[in-house]
Assembly symmetry: C2
Homo-oligomer: 237 residues x 2
C-alpha cells in the first residue's frame, strides 16, 4: 500500500467526483465547471490568474457584500446604517468566512500546495468561498447566488442573535484603535447651539488633530456619529 501525503491528495480529485461533490454542496447543477475549478484552485497550485481563484475572489467578495447588505437592510428595518455596517462586518470577517469555508467542506475540494509558506497565515478557505460565490454569480446570475448565500451560508452558519449581542460600539472601537496605535484620543465639544432644541457638535481629535465632526441633539449621539465617521475616514475595520 502506498501512502499518499495529504498535500498531494488535493491534486488528484477526479473531475467527475468534483462535479458530484459540487452539486451536493451548491444545491444545484453547475453549468460551466471550469469556473468552479478556478474558484477552488489556490494560487499556490497555479500562478496563472485565469486559472486560480484570485480574480473570482475579488468578484465574489463584492457580490457577497451586496447580498448580505440587502439581507440586513430587510431584516432590520428600524436599524440605522451604522448598525447594519457593523453587522455586515461581523458576518463577512475573514476568520468567520474561513471557518464557513471549512465547514462546507472546501478543503477536500480545493487544489493548493501545503508547502507554500503563505498558506499558514492566510484564510484560504474563506477566500475560496468568496471565489465560489463569484463563480456562481458568473455561471448562474444574481438571483441564484442570493439563494445560495442565504440557504447554504446564512441559515446554517450565521447565528444572527449571537452576532447582535456582540454589537460593536463604535466609540469603544475607536478608543481601542487609538490605544493600540499609541495615539491620544479626545471627544471634544466644539459647539453648542439652540435653546429649546439643543444641538451639540462633537469632534474626534486624534493626536490633537480633528479627524471628524458630527452634530446631534445629545452629546452621546453626536459622539457616536463622529466616531462612526472617524472609523470610516481612518479605514478601521
Amino acid at each position: 500500500m502506498r501512502i499518499v501525503p495529504e498535500f498531494i491528495v488535493h491534486f488528484f480529485i477526479k473531475e467527475s467526483d468534483l462535479y458530484k461533490e459540487l452539486q451536493s454542496m451548491l444545491g444545484f447543477t453547475p453549468g460551466n465547471i471550469t469556473l468552479y475549478e478556478s474558484a477552488l484552485c489556490h494560487r499556490s497550485n497555479n500562478k496563472n490568474i485565469s486559472e486560480n481563484n484570485e480574480r473570482l475572489e475579488y468578484l465574489g467578495d463584492a457580490i457577497l457584500g451586496a447580498v448580505i447588505s440587502e439581507f440586513l437592510f430587510i431584516k432590520y428595518p428600524a436599524r440605522d446604517e451604522g448598525y447594519l455596517t457593523d453587522m455586515r462586518s461581523k458576518i463577512v470577517n475573514r476568520k468567520n468566512l474561513n471557518q464557513i469555508g471549512l465547514d462546507i467542506g472546501l478543503k477536500l475540494l480545493m487544489k493548493f500546495n501545503e508547502q507554500d509558506i503563505q498558506l499558514r497565515e492566510s484564510y484560504i478557505f474563506g477566500n475560496a468561498l468568496e471565489a465560489l460565490i463569484g463563480a456562481i454569480y458568473i455561471d448562474k446570475g444574481f438571483a441564484k447566488t442570493k439563494t445560495f448565500i442565504r440557504k447554504k451560508i446564512l441559515i446554517p452558519f450565521v447565528n444572527m442573535n449571537m452576532l447582535e449581542n456582540i454589537e460593536i460600539n463604535s466609540k469603544n472601537k475607536l478608543i481601542g484603535w487609538a490605544a493600540k496605535h499609541g495615539k491620544t484620543i479626545e471627544f471634544a465639544l466644539l459647539d453648542e447651539t439652540g435653546g429649546a432644541s439643543k444641538n451639540f457638535l462633537i469632534g474626534v481629535k486624534i493626536d490633537n488633530e480633528i479627524i471628524s465632526k458630527s452634530s446631534a441633539r445629545t452629546k452621546k449621539e453626536a459622539s457616536k456619529l463622529a466616531a462612526n465617521e472617524a472609523i470610516k475616514i481612518l479605514n478601521i475595520i
Copy 2:
C-alpha cells in the same frame, strides 16, 4: 418680490416635479416614489432613519461595489485582482462620486439644510447617488440597477483610460502612508529558497513589526504582493 434663500428652496420641490425630473434622470419610470424621496433626503433635513437616505446609502454603496466589480472583471480579463481592486477604488472614491452626483443634478432634487455644520465637509451628493442606487435596486431589482449604473454613471462620467493611467502602485502607496504617519517601513527579505526555481519571501515591516509576508519568484513581485496584503490589513484606501 420675496427672495427665497437657496437653502430653503430645496424643501419646496413639488412631488409632481420630482417625479418628472427623476424620470429623465433615471431613464425609466420610478415605481415606489417614496424610496426616491428618501434617497434624496439628507439627514440634516430629516433625522428619521426611515425617511432620510442613510440606510439606502449603505445598501447602494454595496450594490454599486458589486456592479463595478463585475464590470471591471469582464472588461479586464487578463488583469489580476490587485489591479481590479485599484481600479474599483478609483471609480468609487468619495470625491469622484460626489462630483458625479452633482453632475447628474442631484443638488436641485435633494432636501438638505445648508445651515447644517456637517454638510460643509461631507460628500452629500455622492452619498445621495449611492442612496439613489439603493432605491433603484429595491424598486426595480439588480438588472435595472446595473443598466442605470452603466448608462448613467460609467459611460458618461467615468473615463476608464484616464483611470488606467493613474494606476496606483501599492508599494508606493504603502511608503506614502508610512511617511504621512511618521512610521518606518522596510521590505525585508525573510527567506530565499530553491535552486533552478527560486522563491523569495518578503516581509513588510512597519516600525520594525512584520505586518505581512508574501513569496514569489522575484523579489519585486513578492514585495508587491506583501504591500497589497499590508494595505488590506492596515485598511489603507
